[in-house]
Amino acid sequence: MTTTMPELDLDPFSDEVLRDPGDFHRAVLDAGPVVRVRQSEGFRLVAVGRYATVKAIIENPAMFLNSRGGGVLDLKYDESFREPGLLAENDPPAHTAIKSVMTSVIAPRNLRRMRDDFQTAADEIVDRLLDMRTFDAQIHFAEAYPLRVIPDAVMGVRQEGREHLLRYSKFLFESMGPRTPRAKRALAEMGDLEPTISWVRDSCRRENVQPGSFGALIWDAVDRGELTDAQAPNLVRSLVGAGIDTTIHSLANTLYLLITNPDQWALLREQPARGKFAFDETLRHTSTVRQIIRTPAEDTDIEGIPVTEGQKIMLLPGAANRDPDRWGETADRFDITRDAGGHMALGRGIHQCVGAPIARLEADALLSTFARRVKSVEFADTPRPMVNNFLRGFDTLPVTITPV
């Protein structure tokens, strides 16, 4: 029995959907297990939103490949804007050894060493916020904290030129999506990106990573014969590309949800140790990564609906994480006491986000410290959502806080 694929006249990369994907996600959930969506730039994308379907695809990496590209391009035929990522744009068996190196770098013992520094940094950042009282939380809370801890301890990149970090990830996450008129404009407004790309490339070299950082541990794996000289910079680059914007926007989304759900803010203040749960529930409720891309290795079907080899499939974590079949009647509610375990925001299985433990450590330190020392937090002005092809977050998040 074959059934035809339902079609939706919605463009996942239109400004409306990027600003608020809620209606789009609901339409995909209602339409079927896999849905053809409209795409103005000539891509013929299909979307998968239902939790069970997303899970089945993501847990079958032999059929649904990563190596054909994590963006809208099919790397089998299309020249990408950069060398494919060894971790996220790779399949077993090649992926297996790489992932195990990265897992051994981001190991619990290595993270434990960082805990105290992360806490000290959180105290400093919250001190500054309490001095300011009214500030743009996007810059002074969400960006300031990861930028304070990640470039040193994790990436190990040079001090000089760090302003390139945010430019690089903005370029990266915009470029992975289709070149819509909006995306073209956004990239054009960034000006000459060559210096940024060169700075990142140079920062990943052996002589430029700081000793003791995770970047240096990746180079150590070369000395042990587990990686080649050519592979190491690519993996350091993955720390640089994937390890900063994702966390920044997730922190901003968490603060936004705590302000718009005062009962949850009150719960967090009562028990500041719930910071990590607030963060995990935010990832579920407002998933930062808009789509996870997979490509079928051969003609196959998704729950009886045929999909052809090479068809780019957008898995929508934001839809799966609100699927009432998995989360029940309260799927749309932000509830930090919920068991959000099993959400798809960080992927699952062999490609589950290898940096998740770092992000959780950051969020735990910052949010718990913030909740212990801040009595109230409210908007100082209307926040402006970010419009970006791959990530959900804010351009501005003006807030006013009062101390305990």
Partner: protein, 326 residues
């Protein structure tokens, strides 16, 4: 790759299902068939080392583990399957319903029985236990090591590859046929370990238990086994234990068939977790006291031995009561 990395890598590959096609099938003895597997669309299969096994997911829903018995440099994989009328139906199915051209799903390869470098090896194989040993002989030979094999079986007709082994390797292979020579003298097979010699044994449990009992005079770490019972963790031996929560002193009982994570959550304590199969590290919990039976693929061997943290979704207690930082 360090041991920890190999362990991690193997845990990762566990999750991948690889579609394969049966390229050839040959009856080796009355009760053993040999299958050669290739990747669907001739996609290359992962590399492997002697001692590795794969999970074969059969269309009838059963899942069995088989050692790879071919040559790692071949593009195809090869397994041998003994018909076990008393088994759970996996081997019967292979014999009766898996023919050339059949598509199967496999997972792996994984290796818990890798050949460590050594100047000399003593191989002991019982029955179908010869399968992981075959590629080891080739590797030992290629490495220029001294080696000997004693291959035990109930009858000459039932022993796979017996002929080519004795012909190909001259005096280094000794066949022991129970129907002709009676029960093998395990003590004699284990006599006089030589400097640097490693013993690799695979066969029925009775044989391995005898080796375990009688091999005490071998240096620690020099005897390596593979039991070819299912390698998926046998949870039938799991027992009930207690978990004490350090912050409250509350003591919870974890029944044999439930995880610490579930029991702690049920008591009203919120815990972060994600994969629930010991691969992602989200539920990492600090251990205040007690010995852990680690079953995760996140911590390195050293970290597991440090016993400072555990993954509560899969790991259990190796003592009556664990105290956790909860």
């Amino acid at each position: 790759m360090t041991v920890a990395d190999t362990l991690l890598a193997s845990a990762r590959t566990m999750e991948v299902e690889i579609p394969v096609v049966v390229a050839r099938r040959r009856r080796v003895t009355a009760d053993i068939v040999r299958l050669w597997l290739i990747g669907v669309d001739a996609r290359p299969l992962p590399s492997w080392t002697p001692g590795a096994h794969i999970d074969v997911l059969l269309p009838n829903g059963t899942e069995r583990q088989y050692s790879l018995c071919g040559d790692p440099s071949d593009e195809e994989w090869s397994i041998m399957v003994l018909r076990e009328p008393q088994g759970r139906g996996g081997s019967q199915y292979v014999h009766d319903a898996v023919w050339t051209g059949q598509k199967l799903k496999v997972r792996g390869p994984r290796n818990h029985f890798a050949l460590d470098p050594a100047p000399r090896y003593r191989f002991l194989a019982g029955g179908i236990g010869i399968t992981p040993i075959l590629p080891m002989l080739r590797e030992a030979e290629a490495a220029g090591a001294e080696w000997s094999l004693t291959y035990c079986g109930r009858s000459r007709q039932g022993m796979a590859c017996a002929e080519e082994l004795t012909v190909g390797h001259g005096g280094r292979v000794r066949l022991h046929v129970d129907s002709e020579q009676g029960v093998p003298d395990v003590a004699a097979l284990l006599s006089d370990p030589r400097p640097g010699e490693l013993l690799y044994a695979c066969g029925p449990n009775s044989m391995l238990e005898a080796i375990e009992r009688m091999g005490a005079h071998w240096p620690k770490g020099s005897i390596h086994f593979e039991r070819f019972s299912a390698v998926t963790r046998d949870t039938t031996a799991d027992t009930e234990f207690e978990v004490e929560l350090a912050s409250s002193g509350k003591v919870l009982t974890v029944p044999a068939d439930r995880s610490i994570l579930d029991v702690v959550r049920e008591s009203g304590i919120q815990m972060l977790s994600s994969c629930q199969e010991g691969t992602c590290g989200t539920c990492e919990t600090a251990v205040v006291s007690g010995q852990v039976d680690h079953r995760d693929a996140v911590l390195s061997k050293e970290e597991q031995e440090e016993n400072e943290v555990m993954m509560v979704c899969v790991s259990r207690a190796a003592c009556p009561r664990l105290v956790l930082d909860l």
